[in-house]
Symmetry: C2
Subunit: 696 residues, 2 copies
């Protein structure tokens, strides 16, 4: 039977009557708030189908989800978007804890941008329970909120030793989450990690899956990852818990993107064989290959010792780091044992060895490896150094091609800048001229401002990326003022480039905590981009704590760039990104770069970035401040710059006069601040950066 249903009621009625061999067809259209449950008992020969009328014609939106229960169910051809799940999952292979799905399949299904608008609300888009289930040729892209995109659960016997098959899926971009919980795929949890999952994960494409340090968090035994491609994905396939997993013939292609890594090895009986690793820039926990130290007699949720690892036949080309004994410290003191590293090829064009030994590696037998640069002495006997080594990663031998994955009727993510592709729009000076222009602006538009005065009586909510700049010839003659607490609030997909403006804060209300540019947690913020160039900002003193750039709790700037700009007379901070005070490892900015800019009479800190908590799941925040001057910044309470828990810090060629020194509080990780060419007027010979280390 082919049962076409047009309403949720019709669907529920149909489900009550389905038997083996039936197919329920959702009529084309938008199904809002559809809490769908497909229950039934099909057979291998006569499964029960749920499908859309035409490919891409059925959209589940609003608060929709789908649960499967029974056996031999097949779901295909659905699209989830324009909403988010009210449950812990969008697609679940169980109805509830008592009713699981087995021998069932989800294929040709799309979940795109179906993120809870509150980034801190945790959910997963696909959760597999039961046994012998298949998830293939699906498209999962754009998850912004907390929680792994896809999970295999082993929380009862009915879901263990499950033989699931996950293949030919397209895992589209997963932007930085800014905390733990940004994994793209996870199998198991520490609690059940000594149980085997036996899931086969193959021919999947991971495209910019960069939520956190774990692209995949493997937390169970007996899994196989083979022929997957990881492209420009930050972090690693992490064998976090469980034993006996195999990683073979995968391609890890970082394409030179920041923090890209390969495989991180922990626990016993892991095999890493015949993989290709190329153009990976990650170090430490995000190296191309990371073999961790363990904790002696580790509790189940800490680090188990590496024992009987086989790392063989892999090719590494232009990779930043192979870390051996990583994490070695007083607690993580159990070095790898009974392991082998053999017949691997490591070739770096820069002639630098990627190897770092963090501890005694005599428990790994090195043999038959080829390198083009001298490895560390302690392991060099297992390497042949060939300075003319030419063996590169033969891409076709590894992973899977992008176009062989996902859903063929649904487009994959592109790579263009969000500030491009719009129209050029001329704007004349006047009351609310910016508000009126932006009300009509589309993503990527560039507003070219004529010389003159722009006063804004309303807050401008930016839900798309736009550029606002002085017209050629009007640079320095565009004067902007505003009358409300903020001028710009970034929400949704909002992004902003400002160029060539003079902004004054003097018309803002007499209110504590005004901020020129901020973000809103209302409406589901993406990873915002902000750039400020060739602009001046003066007279932000109408009340206390006036800032130029700030963020709401629960929001994240992916990147803030400020250059060739000046800031004077500010009663608070120029950049105030300290809203995540819970110490849950969250923060408000991934990359902050300031160059060639001047800060004068700022109560300070001029830059205030807070990343609390001690977990090791994120790469950022990363801060670079170069060739900039700080004059009269900070006071008896505030340093000139206040960086708490920042992971990457570079201060180059800056000058501090008057005011206070900068402060860097180290809380977690191993950040190594890079300082050069800085001057502290009146304190020559002293460093401008005071470091406080709160790690034990």
């Amino acid at each position: 039977r082919r049962i076409v249903v047009h309403t949720q009621d019709e669907f529920e009625q149909a489900v009550k009557t389905v038997t083996a061999g039936d197919m329920i067809v959702l009529a084309d259209g938008v199904w809002r708030d559809f809490d769908a449950v497909l229950e039934g008992e099909g057979s291998a020969e006569q499964p029960i189908w749920l499908t859309g009328e035409t490919p891409g014609g059925v959209i589940l939106s609003g608060q929709s989800s789908l649960r499967l229960s029974g056996k031999h169910l097949i779901v295909s051809g659905l699209v989830f978007r324009d909403g988010y799940t009210p449950r812990n999952e969008v697609i679940s292979f169980r109805r509830d804890s008592k009713s699981l799905a087995n021998s069932s399949r989800v294929t040709n299904t799309v979940i795109e941008n179906y993120s809870n608008p509150d980034r801190t609300q945790r959910d997963s888009w696909v959760v597999m329970y039961g046994k012998n289930n298949e998830f293939d040729h699906n498209h999962l892209s754009g998850k912004l909120n907390s929680g792994p995109t896809m999970v295999v659960r082993l929380n009862s016997e009915e879901s263990q030793d499950n033989n699931h098959h996950v293949h030919h899926n397209y895992f589209g971009p997963r932007p930085v989450l800014g905390s733990n919980g940004g994994e793209t795929f996870r199998i198991g949890t520490s609690h059940y990690s000594l149980t085997n999952s036996n899931t086969l994960v193959e021919y999947n494409y991971f495209d910019r899956c960069s939520g956190e340090v774990e692209i995949i968090s493997n937390k169970s035994g007996g899994n196989t990852y083979r022929n997957n491609t990881f492209f420009e994905s930050r972090g690693t396939l992490t064998l976090r818990h469980g034993n006996g997993t195999s990683v073979e013939k995968n391609l890890f292609d970082g394409n030179g993107a920041p923090y890209t890594g390969g495989v991180r090895v922990i626990n016993g009986d892991q095999t890493i064989r015949n993989n290709g690793f190329k153009d990976l820039t990650g170090e430490r926990f995000s190296g191309a290959l990371v073999v961790m130290n363990g904790v002696p007699n580790s509790p189940i949720n800490r680090y188990h010792q590496v024992d009987n690892a086989l790392i063989e036949g892999n090719v590494f080309e232009n990779i930043a780091a192979i870390e051996l004994g990583e994490g070695s410290d007083a607690e993580r003191s159990a070095v790898p044992i009974n392991s082998a590293f053999k017949n691997n090829v490591i070739m770096n064009a820069d002639g630098q060895t990627p190897f770092t030994l963090h501890d005694d590696m005599s428990g790994i037998e090195f043999s038959g490896n080829k390198v083009n640069s001298e490895p560390p002495k302690a392991i060099s006997s297992g390497f042949e150094v060939l300075t003319d080594l030419a063996q590169k990663v033969a891409v076709d031998n590894y992973g899977v091609a992008r176009e062989e994955t996902g859903v063929d009727w649904y487009p994959k993510a592109t790579a263009k800048s969000p500030f491009e592709g719009g129209s050029d729009i001329n704007v004349n000076a006047g009351e609310n001229a910016l508000f009126d222009a932006i009300a009509k602006a589309k993503a990527g538009d560039h507003l070219w401002l004529d010389a003159g005065d722009y006063n804004e009586a309303k807050i401008i909510e930016l839900r798309v990326p736009v550029t606002i700049g002085a017209k050629p010839g009007a640079e320095g003659k565009v004067n902007v003022s505003f009358e409300r607490r903020n001028l710009f609030v970034l929400s949704g997909q909002g992004g902003l480039k400002l160029d060539g403006l003079n902004v004054v804060g003097s018309k803002a209300p007499d209110n504590v905590g005004n901020s020129l540019i901020t973000t809103s947690a209302i409406g589901g913020g993406s990873n915002h981009l902000l750039q400020i160039s060739n602009s001046t900002f003066t007279d932000f003193v109408v009340n206390r704590s006036f800032s130029i750039v700030s963020a709401a709790k629960g929001t994240l700037y992916h990147q803030i760039k400020i250059f060739n700009s000046s800031f004077s007379d500010v009663s608070g901070s120029v950049v105030k990104l300290d809203a995540e005070t819970d110490d849950y490892g969250m923060y408000n900015v991934e990359f902050l770069e300031i160059e060639n800019s001047e800060f004068k009479n700022v109560k300070g800190p001029a830059v205030d970035v807070y990343r609390g908590g001690r977990d090791e799941s994120t790469f950022g925040p990363a801060i670079v401040i170069k060739s900039s001057g700080f004059d009269g910044v900070g006071d008896e309470k505030e340093p000139a710059i206040n960086l708490h828990g920042v992971q990457v810090l570079k201060l180059e060629d800056n000058t501090i006069a008057g005011g206070k020194q900068a402060l860097f509080t180290i809380t977690t990780g191993k950040p190594q601040p890079h300082l050069s060419g800085n001057a502290w007027i009146g304190h020559e010979g002293d460093t401008i950066l005071k470091i406080e280390d709160l790690r034990k």
Copy 2:
């Protein structure tokens, strides 16, 4: 001409053509996002009118506002609701800083619940500029966000010495804001406070206007407040800045509500004459009459000395406090001078004197006053003590009757409990039974739960007040579990009473910072009410920082009551209200009462309340904890109870065993913790409350 317009475009066209004597009529219906500007030059005989087609028939909603510019304009019959202004004001007596309105009038207009959903966004509903304007018979009710409800500005010469007339308006309930900025009416700012406004404010009714310590903030000279009624309004009519203002024949009727006050006197030449004050419970800054000390040579924004004040012929009946020389400290050392307090009558049924002298009051001449209890010695010569004094406030002689104010076709606020007036609904146990029941519930409904297991896979958003309780006979047999980060999220008008439930946290996700009950800043939260009684809460330990009750930044509980309940095994706090970390004087709870409850194995603090900043604009938070036990609460870092910046604290008959002591950090104000009958097991003789005083 009578020009009926049906669209915003037609309105704009009409405005372009209006001349003296014309009337523009908005057609009945909802006008969304209407950025209306009425400009024109009428005359005294032939004004220009803007009105609605029928009374109450025209609704301005969404992002609407109205600006007036020109002269002799009259606006009447509009209703603003279901939205909020995108500007600094809803109705403004100017178009922009260059185009003001003069000799214009707004009457019979309603602004109700037109609050920005972000409580911290500041705006005002009515702002008067220009001169000789009139605002009468209007209805302004339910403002929840920051900023005075109504303001008279004096920021240019064209707006000074303005002779505005504000009369017969109904100022409906203004709930506690939880920070400065909750005034109902303000005239002037400190900057222009030595300028005269000469505004006449009479026959207005202030009904529960309790946003902060200032009901009215008078910040200019020469104003008259007469025949206004202040009913159950917290705080005072505050003569904050400026000289020569007169307060006469007003009625201050606190009706016994908390923190209700009368008049606070600062500056020179103020007259407080022939007013009636009754049933006012406020003390200190919120006394029935407060005469402040000044700062010698005060800067314009601090406290100017009281000089030549005349306080005469007032009747005080059953009032808690008359504070003289209030605020006296090292900075505020200038006592009142050249002043008189005469022919007043003060009668308290409890026979207690309300007078407190905080400093030398010889600069006030006391004469001809009558009291029924002995005043302080230093001033007693000016009083005749008549123990049988019977002169009460003759209500009809003062103020104005409620029904003579506001808009006669629009209903005024009522006083019923938000948990009343709904239906009784029976609920049977089952998966998502609460979610499904609440999806259909209406304000005031009472859900009666049958015995059994309730597991909730979805977060329940509560936008209306509901009661959820065990059915008679099912008490203690209603078991509730939940699978997401929260079970209940209060937003909008949400409120919750829970009674007779057993709640476990064990099915919540393995996620840091889960919370059973929280609030959302999305959607415009009111002042939420929460009550928990006769319930048990166990096993909230799945991950760190699990709490039972928490709040999002920018939200406020008006009252939380917890009694006859027990909490055990909690990895965070039971009540965690510390989201306002900006130190802007904001906080998340006004009244918190815990009675007869047990806390066991709570990582702690069991109660964590944070009120940062040093301003003196709020009354709360107020915390009462009685007859409760704390066993194993707190750890090496956390006290058993952590109260920071709380203003009222009572700890009675509590027991602490194991764990840690309670901590009270005093930051501002003069809180006087009341402690009695508490016991600290193993530390007998020690106080259970450690006090840290951060005031200088």
